[in-house]
Subunit: 117 residues, 4 copies
């Protein structure tokens, strides 16, 4: 397994929790809460910005958002591990579903058809 | 780049949106909202379960949670790409910060010290 | 209208925003984000507690949660006002729906039947 | 107490839960999760709309948002009751804090000063 893959991160986080005896706090229920809280902390940075402003963050703000993105990925990885789910495989499966559901030649240019990624 | 890496997923999602002319909807502000909504949909499956029950989902429910995990990873990847952030590198940087902040030998077994992953 | 009713709060918040020229920030989209962020801040206080612990907060923590509850009610009231919705009437209507949906004599004591408030 | 006040709703919801033996599910932790999930369901209606579109919902969508607003108020009321908090008094206290924090004559017209309600 290569360094800095999602699989490697999964193992690193598993060790991190085990070393601290933190598995007792990491029930899927609690991790799902923590994940939602962190996703909300990303959003907090954008709530009063226009969409245009949200695409042009100043460096300090971008750094803060980057750290929140890290937290979301960490809790998502940890939750998936506790449930025995491979998040990357799940994403690829979902992408295939979405490709069938939203054929590019039918959906393109139609805002009305837009509902989901 | 290997198939089924987070980098590869980033590129696949970028193409998916471009093929459908969906970048117009994918402002960081909107993607942050979508990410938070999907994280909440994971949580919805756990809200009335005990912590114990949350660790032993029936297969049907586990499959539903897996699909929501996929959605979170997809929107997180897409948001990070729009901001020029590498989420895996950000997570490794955060892990180093957390290792310094919560030394295993001082934190272990102390529920009181527990505040964050 | 009595002092300290939800209707009175609605008017007070409307004046508060008008006095500061803040209606420009208070689109329903932005207020829905702010509401979700504040709801998440309530949750943050509970994420690592057991259910039992969550029923017995120390005074300092209870005060913090109380302030977040205030923020949620403020943004909910403001959002409803911008949409022309009476939140209290909406809640009473929903309560009637729930009473028909979950008859007490059929639902009582059946955890399995429990899915929603 | 007048019909259709927030105090009356509190009592009605307390009876509703007692009649169904649902207090066992309504720990503050679980109610905080449910509140966050419902706030997110409001947001879901707005995530792909522009701010302008979010101010002009079609009647069907407005009705759906209204029902989600009801759910948020119901869970917020229930959570506050379980914690012994009066949400309306808390909101008025917070409003006073905000009036001192953001004096109208200093804040008006200054988007830069805008950070919070």
């Amino acid at each position: 397994m290569s360094k800095q893959s999602l699989n490697d991160l999964t193992i690193r986080l598993r060790e991190f929790a085990a070393d601290r005896d933190w598995d007792q706090f990491h029930s899927p229920k609690n991790l799902a809460m923590a994940l939602s809280v962190e996703a909300s902390e990303i959003m907090e940075h954008f709530q009063w910005l226009t969409e245009e402003q949200s695409s042009a963050l100043v460096p300090k703000k971008l750094q803060q958002v980057k750290e929140e993105i890290a937290d979301v990925l960490i809790y998502l990885t940890r939750l998936a591990d506790r449930l025995g789910v491979n998040p990357l495989m799940a994403a690829y499966e979902k992408l295939e579903v979405n490709q069938a559901k939203y054929p590019a030649d039918k959906v393109r240019g139609s805002a009305k058809k837009y509902t989901d990624l």
